[in-house]
Symmetry: C2
Subunit: 741 residues, 2 copies
């Protein structure tokens, strides 16, 4: 049993700060518990009251005769450390702290929060919040958040915004079919953190699907770990707010949480198996679909429409959501043609063209044919279904209800998702056609928005893919190499955070990355010429190796396309002289120069990519992959994953950039060597996982060819100084390194 | 009065093919007319009946005693030409032809449709349809489409899908506040076409806003003309389906209409002033907002929230929709701070942080402060408003209703749009909180989706911008130049559709395009060398000029970076020889060679763009602008406009590509010379408008510099042959023309 179980299924609840004022939480939560028929004991606590809603009031926790599992604390912030101490004495398991005025309110609140948590740890009391709207568990009739009209169901809800929780609860109420299991207002995460609740939901038998509304989280790495485990068992729908800088600054001013860059969140949450809601108005629909339907094996969807308009819109929307129109088998087409009028379209999307007007039961006949087709993974019914009785003749309603039953049986029989979009799907209460209410009761979701239905299909496909993702074995990570340990020791000794280029390349090699061409660090002219000779006299590039010269090109400390010994020799002298002059001007002293790196010019025709690792303040080390070049920088076509990466993650990065098609070869170009690129990415992952001392790694650019990859520039920064060499600050350009001869 | 007025406001209606069968349109339309209290005469026509629903039935149109304005024809297709003839005799103004089986059903139907239209033209009868679901006009109680529960209102609806019309009508019914004026099922556009209905809606005093559901249209150019006029007076919301190739093929199999490339539709419809709905579930909301609210002058939005979650989501969504969070004035901030609790956020988005919990009237106080701020163009209220009575205390409902009234008055007073998102906005019927019903009755739209509300704000801004767009004067188009007339004559004489490069450049010059550098067509080596000298000895590029050599680079008929007379002379011979060999191999004959074009190499550092003109089968000539290069081709970052272009159109193209920021200079680059690029685009527009003989024009690449533009390759194709040189078939690359020295 999960450690939080007794908090969410309490045998008894104390309301500290209980009140007789019907406007106060100290009153309403008691009222709600009584109304809902909470089976355990309810203990109001207030030294100035004797009775509330017929219940005896206790002057203090200590006065309560029985044990207390859960305390709802409605008092102001400043009383909290003391009350937590009392909770400890009473062996209270969990305390829900509503008050604000803690860490979100500045330094004094931060201190108060710290004192409260220290007390809680001492007393072995777990704290939910503070600054939370509360919790409920419909399966335990334990609703101390005060939301009304809760329907019992399987969706668990974690939210950093009470109003968003209320939005979803109200939407579920309007929907009429969706029920929730447990809600937690996360609040400040002072003690229990996001990932613990998520883990708890994994264990809770009454929760089948999870929604999380996230503004930012304190421990993103632990959350991702938990998410990886939970998402394999139960769908987790996450809405991450603070996507834009405008949203982020708003989120920060409200919660004090650090909402990270959305591109990072998007990448790492998807990687861990979450279904991401991009819009707040699709969150509940996604959870509903995922709770009702099976994940989709592949992405081939059949559409059954009763008009051209919806057929066309469905086809557009499926394509825009990355789904495919299933190609129907000949036998399916023939079977459809046999039961539909001549004007019907028996290709996908199927348009019955009036074939159901007088007999909507034909929908079920068509559904059977489509679901039986092995090339179909899911079925979307779109148009008037459910409203034939409204539109044409009341008598059709009964036929439609039978059809609803039949389609529901087909759904169970074929175990493929069926979704219904009906233009009557938005009618509620008395107006809602009974066939739609019925088919929803039988487990098939009904939508009034065709786009929403398609988005849910897409989520089912995403969930299917997330579940097929292999488990991380953790075995194939490189160990900490001795070579790089030594480099780290040197850096520490020399007080530098910049790992030199040859050291960085060596670290990658030790982590399993194969360098496609040799490189040499020449300490003097003779060594440079010797390197040139060793390289067979091919044109070489030369550049300074110095922790003091970051912007090598600006310093004139890069020379390209050197084709003979004289130029190599001249270049060496010039590079060193330029570097010295530059450093004197910039820093007022001579640079430490480790040498000049000599390596062959890269062949033309490679695709420029960038690979970097940064430490995200929330999620820890994340790897970025994107195409290089100024245009991609403008379009921000990059993707992120958290470390360590699996092979499947690395391949997915190549596919997830918008311009991925360029890697497959366009305009007659050969596809690039994706395997080599993936090996490089995995090597970087390995290195940065083994060495948490690495604050940033930047390979920029890397050229990807049909046969292998070439790293043109590599830099590693260690913890302690990350000034001015972030991913955005790129001075090196492809043309500076590529042979023009 | 518009010519179609008597059709949509008929004094009398004949139902041809009237029926006693309640399942048939010939019955239901009569029933509906009677139910709705249609004021004119209703004449059922059927030789086999005498009475239907208490009305006498006439054996034929001729037997009807009075005049007939509108005929609803429910008979099969084959009877149509004959019935139209009878309509003519009876002076019927308009005939609604329901039957399918015409042009959409193949060649025989096409012929039948043609015969019907010829008869209609002869008889001066206008036809709606065929293959239409019918029409209604709620203001004339004339509903012959048979939709139920129609609410009278100001939204006119044009649709190529009856089911989509039914969807919107049903959605309006669920909404409860939105009413429609007139609906037209467009059908096959056999006689009356899309643009005529649109023009009619412009005149109809009962229509304030137009919705058009478009799969494809027969005469896109006329539609655009009409749209330009109508959209200036009334908002026109267009949903264009068939956006993807999957959707397109579905649309074609259903309607026979040619649904063009969506990027083209998107560009030209927006240019003409339409508000484009991207999703079918936002169409009605957009029309509702545009019918209720004033267009937004600028894009600065104030957000008034009662919780951090919605504030954050609103900020994200506004940014993602290209809107801005208004910067509040100091006086507004101070005024807010004076009435809100200390924990409130008085920057935008404003979070009242509990300041309305006990008194929602504070919403109106805040709204006044925000609307009075001159830096605020519109106000979005988001959160619980309208539901305080539900959430907290019934007593608050009355305060909220007063607040609704006050906000509505503020809306009228300040003439700035106010939109309300409420998490209680999705509750309908008895569940809908009264304050929300009230504020909507007072003209302020209410949304249950925050994203939908923001999309509507965006549409208000788009409509504001569309209305500020200058009218096309039509005066500044270039006349047909004599020079290009001669070229056309030559091409006709020589039987070629390819206009040679120097001829193309000359045509552009004559249309007012300034060529930044000279170019020469050398007929022999001496002329080539002379050209080189005239150019001052700068490095030159040389390429073949021949209608027979399209792929010049493949043919080896391009030579670059020639720096002295010997190379120029050698290049001439080599280019001619290569072109000859290539043509012999490809076509089995020697090419016609007009000469070799000599021009200076372009300087480095330009941004590669592409400008092309093609004739769209629906919209006529459209101009495409995009960034060049392989990556943009992959990302399809191009925009379209229909010709002729205004200056404002040309500038908007530069802004509308996704990577537009690159034109403003990134990584320290200077911004490109947008004025020069616009002048070039306008010259092309001028040329292609003056010469409809031009089937395609392709400038690819054009290099844009901080000071001017350089056309590196130009080709024009005339009507009659467009083989293999479309925009997608680009062999020329920037690096082939740019000086490397």
């Amino acid at each position: 049993m999960h450690a939080l179980h007794h908090i969410f299924y309490p045998g008894s609840i104390a309301i500290i700060g209980a009140s007789r004022d019907p406007g106060k939480r100290g009153f309403r939560s008691i009222q709600k518990l009584l109304e809902d028929g909470f089976k355990g004991a309810i203990y109001p606590v207030n030294p100035r009251e004797t009775e509330i809603l017929g219940l005896p009031v206790f002057a203090s926790l200590a006065d309560i005769p029985g044990s207390v599992d859960l305390a709802l604390i409605c008092t102001p912030a400043k009383m909290l450390p003391g009350i937590i101490a009392q909770c400890g004495v009473k062996n209270v398991r969990g305390a829900v702290v509503l008050a604000g005025g803690f860490a979100e309110a500045g330094a004094a609140g931060e201190l108060l929060q710290q004192q409260m948590v220290e007390e809680a740890v001492r007393q072995n009391v777990r704290i939910i919040g503070p600054n939370t709207s509360g919790i409920f568990n419909t399966h335990a009739a334990c609703n101390i958040v005060g939301f009304s009209h809760l329907k019992t169901g399987g969706i668990g809800l974690l939210s950093q915004s009470g109003n968003m929780a209320l939005s979803l609860v109200t939407e579920a109420q309007a929907n009429g079919h969706v029920g929730l299991s447990t809600y937690v207002g996360i609040g400040n995460e002072a003690d229990i953190r996001f990932h613990e609740y998520l883990e708890y939901f994994r264990e809770d038998p009454n929760t089948s699907t999870v929604i999380a509304y996230v503004e930012g989280m304190k421990d993103g790495q632990r959350f991702l770990e938990a998410l990886r485990r939970v998402a394999r068992a139960k769908p987790v729908v996450i809405y991450k707010s603070g996507r834009t800088s405008a949203g982020r600054s708003s989120a920060q001013s409200h919660t004090g949480a650090l909402a990270g860059d959305y591109a990072v969140s998007e990448g790492v949450l998807k990687q861990a198996g979450a279904i991401l809601a991009r819009k707040s108005d699709e969150i509940l629909s996604l959870a509903e679909a995922l709770s009702l339907l099976e994940p989709i094996a592949s992405r081939r969807i059949a559409v059954l429409a009763d008009g051209g308009g919806h057929a066309t819109i469905a086809a557009d929307s499926l394509t825009e959501h990355g789904l495919k129109l299933a190609s129907l088998s000949d036998s399916a087409r023939n079977a459809l043609a046999a039961i539909l009028p001549a004007s019907a379209v028996v290709a996908n999307p199927v348009d019955v063209a009036g074939g159901t007007d007088s007999n909507p039961a034909v929908f079920a006949d068509c559904a059977r044919i489509l679901l039986a087709d092995p090339g179909v993974d899911a079925l979307l019914v779109t148009g008037l279904f459910g409203g034939y009785g409204v539109r044409f003749s009341q008598a059709l309603t009964l036929i439609e209800m039978e059809t609803s039953e039949r389609i529901a049986i087909l759904h169970r029989e074929y175990r493929k998702p069926v979704l219904v979009h009906s233009l009557y799907g938005g009618l509620y209460a008395d107006l809602r056609p009974r066939p739609l209410a019925l088919i929803r009761e039988r487990g098939i979701p009904v939508y009034d928005s065709l786009e929403r239905a398609v988005r849910c299909l897409q989520a089912l496909a995403e969930f299917g893919e997330a579940r097929r993702r292999p488990m991380w074995s953790g075995n194939d990570l490189a160990a900490r190499s001795e070579g790089f340990e030594k480099v780290l020791a040197t850096c520490r000794r020399e007080g530098r955070s910049v790992v030199l280029e040859h050291e960085s390349r060596q670290a990658l090699e030790e982590a399993g990355v194969e360098m496609s061409v040799p490189y040499f660090v020449a300490a003097n002219t003779d060594e440079a010429v010797a390197a040139f000779k060793t390289l067979g006299g091919a044109p070489v590039a030369m550049k300074i190796v110095s922790a003091d010269v970051i912007h090598k090109t600006d310093a004139g400390a890069v020379k390209l396309n050197l084709i003979d010994e004289a130029s190599v020799s001249g270049a060496f002298a010039e590079i060193v002289a330029n570097a010295q002059r530059y450093c004197l001007l910039q820093c007022g002293r001579l640079p430490d120069i480790a040498g000049v790196l000599v390596s062959p010019m890269a062949p033309k025709g490679g695709i420029e990519v960038i690979i970097g690792v940064v430490r995200d303040p929330s999620y820890g080390p994340v790897l970025m992959f994107g195409l290089g070049g100024v245009l991609v920088e403008v379009l921000r076509d990059v993707v992120f994953r958290s470390l360590p990466l699996m092979e499947t993650d690395a391949y997915s990065m190549l596919e997830d950039i918008r311009a991925s098609r360029i890697l497959d070869g366009v305009r007659g170009a050969l596809p690039i060597d994706k395997d080599a690129l993936v090996r490089l990415i995995l090597g970087i992952s390995s290195l940065c996982t083994a060495f948490p001392e690495i604050a940033e790694l930047d390979l920029n650019p890397v050229l990807a060819y049909p046969n292998g990859v070439r790293i043109l520039d590599a830099r590693i920064l260690l913890d302690g100084d990350a000034s001015g060499v972030g991913i955005g600050d790129r001075r090196m350009r492809e043309e500076e390194y590529v042979a023009t001869t």
